[in-house]
């Protein structure tokens, strides 16, 4: 009962929207998380718009709008003056933009609350939309889409490409940062229009947490109520198609290692009854950056093939940079995703054999999971792990608040997701776990992305269906040798039509 102890000790009180009235009640359009003993105040302002709202040909607009607000002048202060004022507080604010949500987040020490809040509020409520700021922010974004995204981390690129493939034809398809061509076309007027359409008082929810003073929440909400109202057309939730068999994208790039991402759509959302079961399944199978991950055990721990191997039931951008679960990436559609970290060649001409071996190993493990479920001892093992580990999810007031905002997105009732993890774990059984696997996972159909060199050779190897063995630096025990036989020839049934090859220079150049 660690979570409950924590809640009690911090004098924590939660209010959501207009759920409660009376003394200290949260006004409509606010989410509060009072922790009176904390010297920090956290903000999490949720604008109900994201990249799904980008107009066609203007992909990246939601992102650029939010960046311009968080990184630009206001009608009160130039960007330079804002930097100058924030600097001695060692505080800042930033915007994160995902498919469905834009969130402005910041934390400040209570000594500096008033000065900080004024800057934070002005950034969203009275942006200057100055042309110089626009040019600076757009140039930075263009540099990222033209160069950084394609020439920095292939593994992050492969994940982005997986989403692009799986969500073709839906508003989730394009990367949040847009395409090279679409970002080039964005004008200051586009940004002003986007702001006017979505930064409306009925479309913005204000989250405030920590040791804020009495009356502060009411003051903040009153400020945000100065925004005009707007009619926001809802965007239908995407219904991505299941691929028929294996559909493979190979990106040709000069590199010594292959990046691999694979996955398929799953109906699972955090608000679903299956979520506790699937959290446990995913944790057992591929807990992020953890040696507890079964995939990690098979591919890295036993075979030393790469740096790590994980799976996901919710988006986890920039997983290379953090072990903490991301917050404010709530979506109405998810992929089940497998991330195999870069596989390098260890000798001449073995890069593709190793790439396919690792892919087959992961796919084969998924196949076994889908067929067999989890034995009782493994359910118990994962349950105990998550029971303890999940305490770290809400490590700071800022994160606890962000989880409450995500709760509102999913319509989760009190006491919210963090507090429901342990009760959910306690209830589940091996049978309910198997039933959840049956409803949410499968192993027949898969989107697969490789970023590698000599793409045509990899394509030919895939089409040949030949087994792909690996060599070791040390003698392996017989059970590994035997298992390798099965892995190396695990079928990936494909024809030439199932495989697309793109040059890195074509990737995310245009949405057309």
């Amino acid at each position: 009962m660690k979570t409950i102890a924590l809640v009690a000790a911090l004098g924590l009180a939660v209010g959501v929207a207009s759920a409660c009235t009376g003394d200290g009640a949260a006004p409509a359009g606010t989410i509060t998380l009072a922790e009176s003993g904390s010297p920090f105040i956290a903000f999490d302002v949720w604008v109900k718009a994201g990249s799904q709202n980008d107009p066609a040909g203007k992909e990246g607009l939601a992102f650029l709008t939010a960046q311009l607000l968080s990184d630009g002048s206001t009608r009160q202060d130039s960007y330079q003056a804002i930097i100058e004022k924030l600097y001695p507080m060692a505080a800042g604010y930033g915007a994160s933009v995902d498919k469905e949500m834009t969130v402005f987040r910041g934390v400040v020490h209570r000594d500096n609350l008033d000065a900080y809040y004024t800057l934070f509020r002005n950034a969203m409520l009275s942006p200057a939309f100055s042309e110089e700021d626009f040019n600076r922010v757009k140039a930075q974004l263009l540099n990222y889409v033209e160069r950084g995204r394609r020439f920095n981390r292939d593994e992050e690129l492969s994940k982005e490409l997986l989403y692009w493939m799986a969500y073709q034809g839906t508003p989730y398809a394009h990367p949040v940062e847009g395409y090279v061509e679409s970002v080039r076309s964005i004008t200051p007027d586009d940004v002003r229009d986007f702001y006017a359409r979505f930064y409306a008082r009925n479309n913005v929810v204000v989250g405030i947490g920590g040791g804020y003073p009495d009356g502060f929440v009411q003051r903040v909400r009153a400020d945000f109520d100065a925004l005009p109202e707007a009619t926001v057309e809802p965007v239908d939730a995407p219904h991505p198609a299941m691929p028929d068999g294996a559909k493979i994208l190979i990106v040709e790039k000069q590199t010594d290692a292959s990046a691999i991402s694979m996955g398929f759509p799953t109906p699972l959302l955090r608000s679903d009854p299956d979520f506790a079961e699937m959290s446990l399944v995913n944790s057992w199978f591929g807990e992020h950056r953890s040696s507890f991950s079964h995939l990690y055990n098979v591919i890295r721990e036993k075979r030393g093939m790469n740096y790590g191997d994980y799976s996901y039931i919710e988006p986890f951008p920039r997983g290379y940079a953090t072990q903490e679960r991301p917050v404010n990436y709530a979506r109405r559609s998810n992929l089940f995703e497998i991330w195999i970290r870069p596989i390098s060649g260890t000798g001449p001409d073995d890069l593709h054999d190793r790439t396919l071996f690792a892919t087959r190993a992961a796919w084969r493990e998924l196949d076994a999971l889908v067929k067999n479920g989890l034995p009782e001892d493994q359910v118990e093992r994962a349950r105990l792990y998550l029971h303890n580990f999940s305490v770290t999810y809400g490590s700071t007031v800022s994160r606890r608040l962000a989880y409450r905002v995500d709760d509102a997105f999913f319509g989760l009732p009190e006491p919210g997701y963090l507090a429901s993890i342990r009760p959910g774990l306690e209830k589940l059984t091996p049978a309910s776990v198997k039933a959840a696997i049956d409803r949410n996972l499968q192993s027949r159909n898969m989107w697969v992305v490789f970023v590698t060199s000599n793409a045509e050779a990899l394509k030919a190897k895939l089409l040949s269906g030949e087994p792909t063995f690996i060599r070791y630096q040390a003698e392996q025990p017989p059970e590994i040798v035997a298992e390798d036989q099965e892995i190396a020839s695990f079928p990936i049934p494909v024809t030439a039509d199932d495989i697309t090859v793109l040059d890195i220079g074509e990737v995310f150049e245009t949405g057309r």
């Binding site: 660690k2 930075q140 920095n152 596989i343 700071t396 003698e475």
Partner: protein, 452 residues
């Protein structure tokens, strides 16, 4: 006969387990900036632990800092071993052959990292597991046991780790800067090691055992335990479990870098797409909490080139001829480099931007800093420190730098006292001593010509 010393050194009132209010930015009380109640435990074998009450109730952060990093890799062909060793530390002992299986049951958040000067192992867990953690951690630091087969397998994971970061423009630039600036000192190589050494790692089993016995010794390891626990109980456990650890640390003969006498330059052609990057790197002193010159050097980077500086405002915000300007003036255990790196927005503007940056460097040597900018910078550094103290892990991590360089936590308070005393003249003196051509390594990264 291990004698335990328990020293209660500082007692700023703080509700047990809660984050205390750090107080306003302006002058700190003489007691120091560090706002938590703590104790120092020292064992006869040289092992030292800091016990700190901080963070949320019911949790602890357990951070073991080994004062050995890439800096200590002095033998040719053995770069990357400090980091490789970090991986091997998870491969078990006779008592606990499956280290991670124990961690898993606790649901602890665990990881480790290696850098120039240190290797750190950390864990965040429920307080109820304290004794189990002390047992587990002391056991692997004293009795690590792994097979050659396990060692060879792990070498493959290291190669994978090398690959995931090796090809970005910044990584290639960093390798060139190090190799150009350092001729002898081990800061010449990146923590991950040289690629050839990483590829040869499977053959290094015996060397790895030797590495362990030389460096993983009580005199070379400092424990930071932050969180919610009982001081006496924790101190007792530390004595019980770490007391039997045999000393025997052998300090490596880290080569002294010969004094640089003239400016060095290099150009890198990057094989992907990139904007030009101008990188300035000057030889700078070792980190010190009490040396005015050292602390002034760190402040100089922010004052002269930070987001509040004249050159940043003009070239990044107003004219936008630079897409970014970053000053990395943090110091290390040994004399190191301080760096300024600028991404040039227009590839034809490289020479003009170099002239502009040269002029900004000259102004840092000639002019006194604006008093407000200096005062705001001191405030930013202090608040930056205090803002990291929300969690037990944040508290423990904020102490690692001082502990690595000096071996003590008290250096934190010394550092912020020195910072408070700095004058604009101190900053200019640092600029005149550091930002000089004879200490400069200038590297330019450009996109390679397109293939036909």
């Amino acid at each position: 006969m291990r004698r335990l010393q328990r020293l209660a050194l500082l007692g700023v009132a703080a509700a047990a387990g809660m984050v205390p209010p750090p107080g306003p930015a302006s002058p700190q009380e003489p007691a120091g900036i560090f706002p938590f109640e703590y104790r120092r435990v020292e064992l006869e074998n040289g092992f030292r632990a800091y016990l700190i009450h901080a963070g949320a109730p019911g949790q602890i952060a357990y951070v073991s800092v080994v004062r050995t990093g890439a800096r200590d890799e002095v033998e040719p062909g053995r770069t990357g071993y400090a980091h490789f060793f970090e991986h091997m530390m998870f491969r078990g002992t006779k008592k606990y052959p499956a280290y991670d299986a124990v961690i898993e049951k606790m649901g602890a958040f665990r990881n480790a990292s290696t850098s120039n000067d240190q290797t750190q192992y950390y864990m965040v867990a429920a307080s109820e597991y304290l004794e189990q953690i002390v047992d587990l951690e002391s056991d692997r630091f004293m009795n690590l046991d792994y097979s050659e087969a396990g060692f060879r397998t792990e070498a493959g994971a290291i190669l994978g780790e090398y690959q995931q970061g090796a090809y970005s423009a910044y990584s290639i630039l960093d390798r060139t800067v190090r190799e150009t600036a350092f001729r002898k000192h081990t800061y010449r190589h990146q923590t991950i090691g040289l690629e050839a050494d990483v590829r040869a790692m499977p053959e290094g089993y015996d060397y790895s055992r030797d590495f362990f016995h030389r460096f993983y010794r009580p005199e070379n390891v400092v424990l930071v335990l932050a969180g919610d626990f009982d001081f006496d109980q924790a101190a007792g456990l530390i004595e019980q479990y770490y007391g039997g650890w045999e000393p025997g640390y052998q300090a490596p003969a880290v080569p002294v870098e010969p004094e640089q006498t003239a400016k060095r330059t290099a150009t890198v052609r990057y094989n992907g797409r990139t904007l030009p990057i101008l990188s300035y790197n000057w030889k700078a002193p070792a980190w010190s909490p009490t040396d005015t010159r050292a602390v002034a050097t760190e402040v100089l980077g922010l004052v002269a080139f930070g987001p509040n500086s004249e050159v940043y405002r003009r070239l990044v915000i107003q004219d936008q001829r630079l897409q970014s300007l970053r000053a990395g003036f943090g110091l290390d255990r040994d004399p190191t480099l301080v760096s300024l790196s600028a991404t040039v927005a227009n590839p034809t503007d490289v020479d003009a931007m170099r002239t502009e940056l040269d002029a900004a460097v000259a102004r840092a040597r000639d002019d006194l800093a604006d008093p407000k900018v200096l005062a705001d910078t001191k405030s930013a550094l202090k608040y930056g420190f205090l803002m990291r103290l929300e969690t037990a892990q944040g508290v423990a991590f904020s102490l690692i730098g001082p502990i690595v360089s000096t071996g003590t936590l008290e250096a934190v308070n010394d550092y912020y006292r020195t910072l408070e005393s700095l004058t604009a003249e101190d900053i200019r003196d640092a600029a005149r001593a550091i930002l000089v051509d004879r200490g400069l390594t200038q590297v330019t990264l450009l996109q390679a010509e397109r293939r036909p």
